[in-house]
């Protein structure tokens, strides 16, 4: 493992083994304003990577580049190269709808569709034609709910609105919805910021299980959460990647002073 220690603007990066996602030289602009500056990141397969940093540092913006959610903002432009398994996701020939099915996303505020619990999960597979029969779809829905640890709680009310669940259940429903399209990557944008500690613990447990099969990126404000759940951590500051490496190393022995200041609570 190469250990590169450079002070100042150059990011401190420890390359990941077997990366699923590789980003090189990513810049993001909102109109004239640049939000992300020349970011290089590797995200390892079947592990949890957390993006941390103070508010407005661009970690969510960068996350949304990975499933091209930023495309929906008209003034937003992205340059640079992001690859998932070597495939350039900004290739004009790539179908962005398919990409978003392959890169699931969980948002800050639980946002189940105002439809039944069943419909919430069945929607994605249905529009992508992932199942051939009603029975197969039923099985898939059940499997997703089970994976999300929600099946026991909602088994008897699959036809009730998803919005009627508690906040934590709603967020787990959103996770179940995200895995229903059989993604390789799951992006989580501060998934626990609207949840109480018990619900947070459940979601974290779930992430722990999901990482066996999925590559997970989580944006979080909580450094404890990052330290608890992730194997890799990337620290963003003012739109720049400051440090990216093994979580334990970043939290115990950060190479950059800004990282150290942030994780020790000097700013943020």
């Amino acid at each position: 493992m190469e250990h590169q220690v450079v002070e100042g603007s150059k990011p401190v990066t420890v390359p990941a083994l077997d990366p699923t996602i590789t980003a090189r030289g990513v810049n993001v602009f909102y109109g004239d304003k640049q939000a992300i500056f020349d970011v290089d990141v590797d995200v390892p397969r079947n592990a949890i990577t957390s993006f941390i940093g103070p508010s407005g540092c661009g970690k969510s913006t960068f996350l949304r580049c990975i499933n091209r959610m930023n495309d929906t903002i008209p003034i937003c432009t992205v340059t640079g190269d992001i690859r998932i398994d070597g495939e350039d996701i900004y290739d004009p020939r790539l179908d962005v709808v398919e990409l978003r099915a392959r890169v699931g996303m969980v948002f800050q505020k639980p946002n189940p569709f105002p439809k039944s619990i069943y419909e919430n999960i069945a929607y994605g597979p249905r529009i992508h034609g992932l199942t051939r029969s009603k029975k197969e779809l039923d099985e898939l829905v059940e499997k997703c709910l089970e994976k999300a640890g929600l099946l026991k709680e909602v088994k008897d009310r699959m036809n009730e609105p998803g919005t009627g669940l508690s906040g934590g259940q709603q967020q787990r429903l959103c996770i179940a919805r995200a895995i229903a399209t059989r993604p390789e990557v799951i992006l989580m944008d501060e998934p626990c910021s609207a949840l109480d500690p018990i619900a947070t613990a459940k979601v974290e447990e779930l992430m722990e299980e999901l990482k066996e099969n999925y590559t997970i990126i989580i944006v979080t404000h909580s450094m404890q959460q990052a330290a608890r759940v992730s194997q890799r951590t990337a620290f963003f500051h003012l739109g720049k990647l400051v440090e990216n490496g093994d979580t334990r190393q970043i939290f115990t022995n950060p190479s950059d002073k800004r990282t150290q200041d942030y994780i020790t609570g000097r700013f943020g």
């Binding site: 499933n67 959610m69 929906t72 008209p74 709808v97 398919e98 990409l99 978003r100 099915a101 392959r102 699931g104 996303m105 969980v106 948002f107 505020k109 946002n111 189940p112 569709f113 105002p114 439809k115 929607y123 994605g124 529009i127 992508h128 609105p161 919005t163 959103c174 919805r177 995200a178 229903a180 399209t181």
Partner: protein
């Protein structure tokens, strides 16, 4: 953190000082005042609304029942041709049936007046009955037909039998004469004791037939009103009769020529009655003659008059006769026009709003379109009528007066309402739902069709129904494209047939002189308001329904 002890931020403010208490008091007073203004404004609007509704109901409720007379109609088989049932002499049949109540009236002129009590529509009612029930020919059937409008109004107590013949100013003029003791009553008749100078210059060659006796009478009487500029006093004398009196006097006493005589001149009937009884009543000019009251009273005492509910108000087409006029034509016209309006404005409005809100790039052109849509909502409806007239009728050659064109014009008017409401509803869908749908890989149109539009449907429907309700009450554009056609038949109602709409029907009834149309107008307004209320309830219901579900 250490400098808060000094200066402005120190906690030394005295919250219990007199000035502070006064400030608190003023604040509470201002709060109360504001509340009071609000309550006052609401109370005022409720009051005005109450006045509007009660006056509408008060004038309109009588239109919901009709004064009808029961006719015993013997359908003799020889009166009808089986193949042409509609062609029999129904006028004669109705007249004969009606006259059986009055065997004593035999003169033709009297009979002609008598039949006027019955509505002119009676023969058609009997005809329609026979055409619908040909099996009843040969039997005697009791058919209720409306009485004509003046008697309908009389029976409902809307108009009186007699009215005051003279206004206050006329009575004041007359009272001047009475105060001067000019008016005498002799033998049950009133006279004006008038000094008249029999001017020899006015009698050429002493030939009384060439004399201007009218002038002499007028001049003599005018002396009692030296300062009167209006000629109203001239109505007081029965002038022809007065001239006769003067002529008779001169013929009887030729010696009075060149002298002044005092003559007892008869008064006009209204003033004669005023002099004798202190009040002057004449038969309401909506009726012909006192005899008609006697006949009508006879019908009432014979139990032939009844007042059933006016189903005709909803089943009849328009008519010149208020007792027969109904809203069926207007209802169908409004229905077809609204149908066209809905079918055009709903899809176009939603498509426009969805494109502008979700797909259109934000640039000068879309800004321009947006501003103009908002402006369109403020364009007076009469302008849309002109546009419809110029474009749809004159350029495209579509039929005039047709609900098709009416609906197209109303659609132009409704479009901005629907577009604005739809855009507001689309904006109201939380972005998190769009993100959620995009996040599972829904394409833009799937996000719209599966999530955003269903969620904004309550708002869209509410806006649409409000827009349609506005269109239902719109009058001016319909008048311009001629949707105030007088259509006295409910056959041939359709998209391209000339038609009437509810508001134009109200407009045309309000313009009619017959007394019965006053209550018909109010009743039509009540029907229109009823539809508006139903549409608004529907809007509220739809919103509740879709919102409660999720």
């Amino acid at each position: 953190m250490t400098d808060t002890q000094s200066g402005l931020l120190s906690s030394q403010h005295d919250w219990s000082s007199a000035a502070a208490r006064k400030r608190v008091k003023r604040r509470y007073a201002a709060d109360r005042r504001l509340q009071f203004y609000g309550i006052g404004a609401i109370a005022l609007s409720i009051l005005l609304l109450g006045v509007l509704f009660s006056s509408l109901m008060f004038t309109g409720y009588v239109a919901f029942y009709t004064t009808k007379v029961a006719l015993e109609v013997p359908f003799a088989a020889d009166q009808f041709d089986k193949d042409k049932l509609g062609d029999a002499n129904y006028r004669g049949i109705a007249k004969t049936a009606f006259l059986t109540y009055f065997p004593e009236v035999t003169s033709r002129a009297e009979q002609r007046n008598l039949v006027k009590i019955m509505s002119s529509g009676a023969p058609y009612i009997i005809r329609d009955f026979v055409v619908a029930n040909p099996d009843r020919i040969g039997s005697t059937v009791t058919i209720q037909v409306p009485v004509s409008d003046p008697f309908d109004q009389l029976y409902k107590g809307v108009i009186p039998r007699y009215i005051d013949a003279l206004g206050q100013d006329r009575i004041a003029l007359f009272e001047k004469l009475q105060r001067r003791n000019v008016i005498k009553i002799e033998g049950g008749k009133a006279f004006a004791a008038t000094d008249i100078f029999v001017n020899p210059a006015e009698i050429p060659d002493g030939d009384i037939t060439k004399a201007d006796l009218h002038g002499m009478v007028r001049e003599g009487f005018a002396a009692y009103y030296p300062k009167q500029t209006s000629r109203a006093y001239q109505e007081i004398l029965a002038e022809d009769a007065s001239t006769q009196v003067l002529r008779a006097k001169i013929e009887a006493e030729p010696g009075i020529v060149g002298k002044t005589v005092t003559l007892m001149l008869p008064l006009a009937p209204a003033y004669d009655e005023l002099a004798r009884t202190g009040a002057s009543k004449i038969v309401n000019p909506r009726f012909g003659d006192k005899a008609e009251f006697v006949w009508f009273d006879k019908l009432i005492s014979a139990g032939a008059i009844s007042t059933p509910f006016t189903w005709e108000l909803f089943t009849n087409a328009d008519s010149r006769y208020p007792e027969l006029a109904g809203l069926a034509g207007a209802l169908s016209g409004s229905f077809f026009a609204l149908l066209v309006c809905f079918l055009l404005s709903f899809p176009i409005g939603i498509a426009t709003a969805v494109y502008l809100e979700e797909f259109a790039p934000k640039n000068k052109w879309t800004d321009l379109v947006e501003v103009n849509i908002n402006n369109l909502a403020a364009v007076p409806s009469v302008v849309f009528g002109l546009l419809g007239l110029a474009l749809f009728i004159n350029t495209f050659g579509l039929p005039r007066s047709a609900p098709l064109v009416g609906g197209m014009v109303l659609a132009l008017m409704t479009l901005p309402t629907i577009i604005v409401a739809t855009r507001a509803a689309l904006k109201g869908v939380p972005p998190s739902i769009r993100e959620a749908a995009l996040g599972v890989g829904a394409s833009k149109h799937q996000v719209m069709l599966h999530h955003v539009i269903p969620l904004s449907l309550p708002g869209i429907l509410t806006g649409t129904i409000i827009g349609l309700a506005q269109a239902l009450g719109e009058t001016a554009p319909l008048l311009l494209i001629g949707m105030n056609a007088f259509i006295p038949s409910i056959e041939n109602m359709g998209l391209t047939q000339p038609a009437m709409a509810l508001p134009t029907q109200i407009f045309s009834w309000a313009d009619s002189p017959e007394r019965g149309f006053v209550s018909r107008t109010s009743a039509a307004i009540m029907v229109l308001l009823g539809f508006l209320v139903i549409m608004n309830i529907l809007a509220v219901y739809l919103r509740r329904k879709f919102e409660r579900k999720w």
